[in-house]
Symmetry: C2
Subunit: 234 residues, 2 copies
């Protein structure tokens, strides 16, 4: 008697099956942000698995920023499809940094790449300057390193937002968020933030003037100012 059925090398776990089924529904039924998934108990019955397996699958989707669960009753209750890639990316980066499977240098280099690209694009489109000005003024008023970094983050994320690319903007936000601690340290060590503010003004001026090359150069110099240990200047 030959075993005609193919035996997978690794048995698919029940929650993985649930995951695949939910993803299939999203694609096939064209579900989009705001749509609701069936309740956990109903889903478990439909897919013939235990509720815990459904919950694990939903937990994965929540981690990936695709669903958001809310208890209670009403239109907002239950598992609702959302789009929050930021927190997933932030958690990913923070944990891998903590595990030392990523180095700070790699994260900052990535940020430099993104920001050069985004600043050049913003200069070409002359876009997003109002948000940049607002962040600049926020930094002027800041009285602590935390406050300064807060508005600094807003400034640099505004550059990424100006690109109009949501993926790149999300990556940028996550990069900033995951290195927030180090950024505050860096500002405190620097003491004087005037050199950083000068860099910000130079970036803004380049974008305003519509010169992509100068904008990219300004970003590079600014990061070298912010992280002198990572980018030793000649």
């Amino acid at each position: 008697m030959t075993d005609t059925g193919w035996r997978p090398v690794k048995r698919t776990r029940a929650f993985e099956d649930v995951l695949a089924q939910i993803e299939r529904r999203i694609v096939e039924d064209g579900l989009t942000v705001g749509d609701r998934l069936p309740g956990e108990r109903q889903l478990a019955e439909q897919l013939q698995v235990g509720r815990s397996s459904v919950r694990e699958a939903l937990r994965v989707l929540e981690t990936l920023g695709v669903v958001s669960s809310q208890a209670g009753r009403g239109p907002d209750a239950g598992a609702v499809l959302t789009s929050r890639p930021d927190s997933a990316l932030t958690d990913l980066l923070r944990l891998h940094l903590g595990l030392a499977s990523l180095e700070l240098r790699e994260v900052i280099d990535t940020r430099l790449m993104i920001e050069r690209w985004a600043a050049a694009g913003a200069a070409t489109a002359r876009a997003g300057t109002t948000a940049l000005v607002a962040a600049l003024e926020g930094m002027e008023r800041a009285r602590t390193a935390e406050e300064f970094v807060e508005h600094d983050t807003a400034f640099h994320c505004a550059i990424a937002d100006a690109s109009g690319n949501r993926l790149i903007a999300a990556i940028m936000r996550s990069l900033r968020e995951s290195v927030r601690r180090y950024a505050i340290e860096a500002v405190e060590q620097l003491g004087d933030t005037r050199v950083l503010q000068d860099g910000h003004r130079r970036i803004l001026a380049a974008i305003d003037a519509g010169s992509p090359e100068e904008a990219a150069r300004a970003v590079t110099d600014h990061l070298a100012d912010a992280y002198p240990t990572l980018f030793p200047r000649p």
Copy 2:
């Protein structure tokens, strides 16, 4: 009687507490890739929560590519710390693409940004050419669109690998993986892969010659060839 205890707006769920505790241990105890976490039952007892909450936390960590669970007994069994950011990023991108909360254009643009950066860096360092040649030969031998895309992915990921930045390499692999379906479609629609191979050879030549600008231009032109609908050429 004033309530001195601060009441959080949103009650932290048990599995989130577990998550935070595990992350704390990783950072404080300096745990790294290869180290084992306590068993689910033991962890549940230590943290005074149910095993299901521990499992949900571990599922999140597994989703983020930080732990890998293995049943059975022995040194490899249990929850082991790993470093697999790729699958997490791939799932993230694929799901958000399916949800239409990200557009293909944004993903391809991101890829273009990364690949220009990485190719320029590879040209400066004259690095990674052997892997590029191998992938090039693989594409010559390919007899189906799937096979071609397989080696094409290897070629472009090799460029990112040459950057030496693991984060950027991981993002690149995920970008390619999540658009694999569209890439196969694009190759099938194109029919003739010679123009793509010409592009590959031009990129390789630029890296080999150590000219970053030409490498970046070659990458840009190559992607325009591969996705003519996204990048209309004049």
